[in-house]
């Protein structure tokens, strides 16, 4: 009953196979999609993705087919596919589940991507905090090479593809796709200005597509079952499933893969088993860059657009439940502190602004903030939203902003207490 609505597409093999056994993966239908894709044209594969409606699972929700369609037709000596596995949003571990439990799924998906895009070289950029995942992926890549499923002339198709695991060095900003490119090139992890977009000028100046682990993991099933099948799952505009990872004051600190029309309420109460240690106060969805939402919005579906419409974000799908025993403002302060540590410092609004928002939250928590401070912080947050160079800085103020928006009373109490 409790798990009635769960639907495992991406986590289909979770705990059902030995992750590094290529045979067990093949027995469960592995590499069928790759064989099929190799018999299709690049345009056909992109068309299938278009029908599927698959959109990015890393947080930005960009249509995958569209991203691919910019790069696939470019004729150039080298293109790259990069898998973004720098899963840095606190409370998020969906990508790790896939890499640790079904590494061949990711390998198969990246090979399909490589074939579609004409990229013969791929990188999996795995965060430094995941040495175990890196080990498993390296083993799986070696096995796939030995089995002839990676390397030259895959399945006699004439297509060559090679994958390399690249370890991040513990920087949140390196989840930003252009910062990944800089990092792989051996430079300081800082975002690049766009345009040019990486799809045109990316790694080593070559066209490069960067997709999240979970996004890629959907692709074999779409190739096998068709785009139409996928488009019928979950929300219309953001179809498919989403892995949600639950943490905080929730009974089941677990993960679920659910259709995207599932509501936040179901995630927390049906799958999460409800709030523990107190009553529901707020939920932060999508990691530290996500908004803090009140109980009144829990009937919202988790899909990208529904979440955006209420001023929140699906983000990575992390669900952090906060009960009423916590000082919410203290939570917000801690989140604000996170960004002072993780801003790369390249652009002014993020470099300076994150610190100033944290200073503001400190003042609030210590009962020293004034109404004017609140007004300044709100103005600063807006400027950061609109002017920061990359998504990190644009989203960094979201927790503070949503806290002011949905829990403004708490600010007022603290300010008036002065």
């Amino acid at each position: 009953m409790a798990y009635a609505k769960e639907q495992r597409l991406v986590l289909n093999n979770y705990d059902k196979i030995n992750p590094t056994s290529i045979d067990e993966y093949v027995i469960r239908g592995g590499f069928r999609a790759l064989r099929k894709a190799l018999s299709m044209s690049s345009a056909e594969i992109i068309q299938e993705l278009k029908i599927s409606g698959l959109r990015g699972r890393g947080g930005a929700g960009f249509p995958t087919w569209l991203k691919w369609s910019f790069t696939a037709p470019i004729e150039v000596d080298q293109k790259y596919i990069i898998c973004n596995a720098d899963e840095g949003e606190p409370g998020t571990y969906k990508d790790r589940l896939i890499m640790d439990k079904d590494p061949y799924l990711l390998i198969e998906a990246m090979t399909i991507a490589g074939f579609t895009l004409g990229a013969t070289k791929g990188y999996i950029y795995v965060r430094g905090e995941y040495p175990h995942s890196q080990k498993i992926l390296n083993t799986a890549i070696a096995n796939a090479k030995m089995a002839g499923m990676m390397g030259n002339n895959i399945f006699g198709s004439g297509f060559d593809f090679n994958l390399q695991v690249f370890s991040g060095a513990f920087a949140f900003v390196c989840g930003e796709e252009t910062a990944i490119i800089e990092s792989i090139e051996g430079k300081r992890g800082e975002p690049r200005i766009r345009p040019p977009y990486p799809g045109v000028v990316g790694l080593w100046g070559k066209p490069t597509v960067i997709n999240n682990v979970e996004t890629l993991a959907n692709i074999p099933a779409i190739i096998n079952n068709g785009g139409r099948w996928f488009a019928n799952i979950g929300a219309i505009k953001y179809p498919g499933t989403k892995i949600m990872t639950l943490s905080g004051d929730v009974a089941n600190k677990t993960f679920v893969e659910v259709p995207t029309d599932t509501t936040l309420y179901d995630i927390i109460y049906t799958f999460g088993g409800g709030v523990v240690g107190g009553n529901f106060q707020a939920v932060q969805v999508g990691g530290n860059s996500g908004g803090l939402l009140p109980a009144s919005l829990l009937e919202t579906a988790i899909d990208f657009d529904s979440m955006q419409a209420i001023g929140g974000s699906l983000g990575t799908g992390a669900v952090f439940v906060i009960n009423d025993r916590h000082d919410l403002l203290d939570v917000v302060k801690n989140v604000a502190h996170f960004f002072t540590e993780e801003s790369c410092g390249k652009c002014t609004p993020c470099r300076e602004g994150c610190q100033r928002l944290y200073d503001f939250m400190n003042k609030v928590c210590e009962g020293e903030a004034t109404a004017k401070d609140l007004q300044i912080a709100a103005g600063l947050a807006r400027v950061m939203n609109k002017t920061a160079l990359c998504g990190l800085g644009q989203a960094a103020p979201t927790p503070v902003q949503t806290a002011i928006k949905f829990f403004g009373k708490k600010f007022e109490e603290r300010i008036n207490a002065k």
Binding site: I193, E342, C344, G345, P349, C350, I376, K386
Partner: protein, 581 residues
């Protein structure tokens, strides 16, 4: 050319495809503020003060980085834009010392200008003092890291233009900073002291080691006989410090100003530039005729010398052994001049005005003491000279011009062009040709070696020998040239290298605001000056003939060797040891 049309603040603009909003706005008289933008550099788009509204786009767009698209509607002056710019400026200012009044860049600071233009009166964020130590380790360049606004312009010029790459960013977020590796001082790394980072810095975070107070002390000391020399690149740029166009200031007015400041003798580095040509020209002919090490490479630019010592130690024997004109002058002032005028060299204080920060390092090199004293006591940049003139209350624009003191103030046009890239080469060719062939040159203008092209090549027939020459400016171009020679791809007899873009006229001691466009103006002014002079070949300088007759006797002779020639030191890149720097 593909053109696109757009509307900026209600004005229709038609610009070439790829033009940025910033550039397009300029064409219709709309000024968009910038800080990290530099006309000679890549687009960085990190300061974000140039943001504008673009219709249909939710985020504000950086005007410096966004190309104009067909039909684009841009608004540069909305309340959202002004608010964003003000907020960003306040964020920077709250994390930047508020010592404008006594900052070395007061009134020449891009941040200060913007703060004024945007009417910043009240900074809404608490002032944060970073409390970082000043970097005073370099004899040429000092840094106040507290003032750094992290625009990255110094990093780019050092890494991309000069390929020296001493600067990088450290730490993250609010604490991010720019410094040499391991936070070492500039004096403790392979910095070549060229000062291009000083010119690139929009604020007062990087600046010359200002020594003009020491010169005041010398002038005020009745025991001291204070003499000065001035490099050819000074005149054309000093004009800009006083609101004139490059080159508009008459030489005689500067001479008069220097006398009014209190210098006992005002002479010209051009004299020893002519002398350099005689020595270096003879050295070249000797190397060519006697199978010496080729190519011979010029040695006037101390930034280039240090670059070579660190990066191309295998080319040290290729460097001409001639000292730079500044150091030849220094050595002669405390010997030849002292002797001639009967002044105790111990009492002579020798000041040099240079467009260059590396000259401060050069004069302090331990081997630069062939007179028995430190040959040049103090080097001041064009900027410091301007400060002394202002501080003295001299109206340099209207002062009556005066003449240089003889004999070390007499010079030719060949010496004047030392200030521009290709100038030393051209000056050398004018003399070497006539000395080697015994013929008179019909056309003394070697235009192939002039101009802002990074690497220039030419071939000159010298009495039957096809002499191949090359000219490089910026150490980045020098690196390219030397790598090609090292790889055996290129061969030359003679190479001129100047460390700074455009040569000395673009030096790191020149006025703030030195950009390539200005460099071209100054180059034009230099060649104009050469053209107007009665003597344009170094070997025609009568004062040069005189010094050989009276003192030096013969080029490359014993006395020349002792006073005018030098040697070089192999230096490491990393790890650094103090002895090697």
């Amino acid at each position: 050319m593909d053109m696109v049309t757009a509307i900026i603040d209600g004005c229709g603009v038609e610009v070439a495809k790829g033009t940025t909003i910033l550039e397009a706005a300029k064409t219709v008289g709309i000024k968009i503020p910038t800080l990290c933008y530099h006309p000679d550099q890549f687009i960085k788009a990190n300061c974000r003060v140039c943001v504008v509204e673009v219709e249909g786009v939710q985020l504000l767009q950086a005007a410096c980085a966004t190309a104009v698209n067909e039909g684009m509607v841009v608004k540069t002056n909305t309340s959202a834009v002004r608010d964003a710019r003000k907020t960003i400026l306040e964020l920077i200012l709250a994390h930047h010392p508020q010592d404008c009044l006594h900052c070395i860049r007061n009134q020449k600071c891009e941040l200060q200008t913007l703060a004024s233009e945007y009417n910043i009166r009240d900074i809404r964020f608490d002032q944060v003092d970073r409390g970082l130590a000043l970097d005073l380790t370099s004899p040429s360049i000092h840094r106040d890291p507290n003032k750094c606004i992290k625009c990255g312009r110094c990093i780019e010029v050092c890494e991309r233009v000069q390929t020296v790459a001493v600067y990088s960013k450290y730490d993250r977020g609010f604490d991010v900073g720019v410094a040499p590796a391991l936070n070492l001082g500039l004096g403790d790394v392979a910095c070549i002291n060229c000062g291009q980072c000083v010119l690139a810095c929009p604020v007062g975070a990087i600046y010359e080691n200002d020594q003009h107070d020491q010169v005041w002390d010398a002038i005020n000391d009745p025991e001291k006989h204070v003499v000065c020399q001035m490099a050819p690149a000074i005149r054309v740029a000093l004009a800009e410090e006083f609101g004139l166009n490059s080159g508009e200031l008459q030489m005689g007015k500067i001479v008069a100003a220097l006398r009014q400041i209190g210098f006992d003798k005002v002479m010209h580095t051009n004299f020893t530039a002519d002398l350099t040509i005689i020595e270096e020209g003879n050295e070249l002919l000797q190397r060519i005729n006697n199978g010496g090490k080729l190519p011979m490479i010029t040695s006037c630019s101390p930034g280039w010398i240090k670059f070579c010592e660190h990066n191309f130690p295998d080319f040290l024997e290729n460097l001409s052994t001639c000292k730079s004109p500044q150091q030849m002058f220094g050595a002669l002032v405390k010997t030849y001049y002292a002797e001639k005028s009967g002044i105790d060299p111990a009492k002579i204080y020798s000041v040099s005005f240079m467009p260059c920060t590396a000259k401060k390092y050069e004069c302090a090199r331990p081997e630069m003491n062939s007179s028995g004293y430190q040959d040049v006591d103090a080097v001041l940049t064009t900027r410091e000279l301007a400060r002394m003139i202002r501080e003295s209350g001299i109206d340099i624009v209207n002062i009556a011009p005066e003449e240089f003191d003889a004999p070390m103030g007499i010079y030719t046009g060949a010496a004047v062009i030392f200030g521009a890239t290709g100038g030393v080469m051209e000056a050398a060719l004018r003399t070497v040709y006539e000395v080697a062939t015994g013929d008179t040159l019909n056309d003394i203008n070697f235009t192939a070696v002039r101009g802002m092209e990074g690497i220039k090549e030419a071939t000159v027939n010298l009495a039957g020998t096809e002499v191949k020459v090359a000219v490089a400016h910026t150490t980045g171009n020098a690196r390219k040239l030397l790598e090609a020679i090292r790889a055996g791809e290129k061969f030359y007899h003679f190479i001129e290298v100047m460390a700074c873009p455009g040569g000395c006229i673009g030096g790191g001691g020149q006025p703030i605001g030195t950009i390539n466009e200005k460099r071209q103006f100054r180059i034009d002014a230099i060649y104009e000056e050469d053209l107007g002079l009665p003597m344009r070949k170094s070997h025609e300088n009568p004062a040069i003939t005189q010094i050989y007759e009276e003192f030096l006797k013969t080029p490359l002779g014993h006395k020349s060797h002792e006073l005018l020639h030098t040697h070089y030191t192999k230096r490491s890149l990393y790890p650094f040891s103090k002895e090697q720097l």
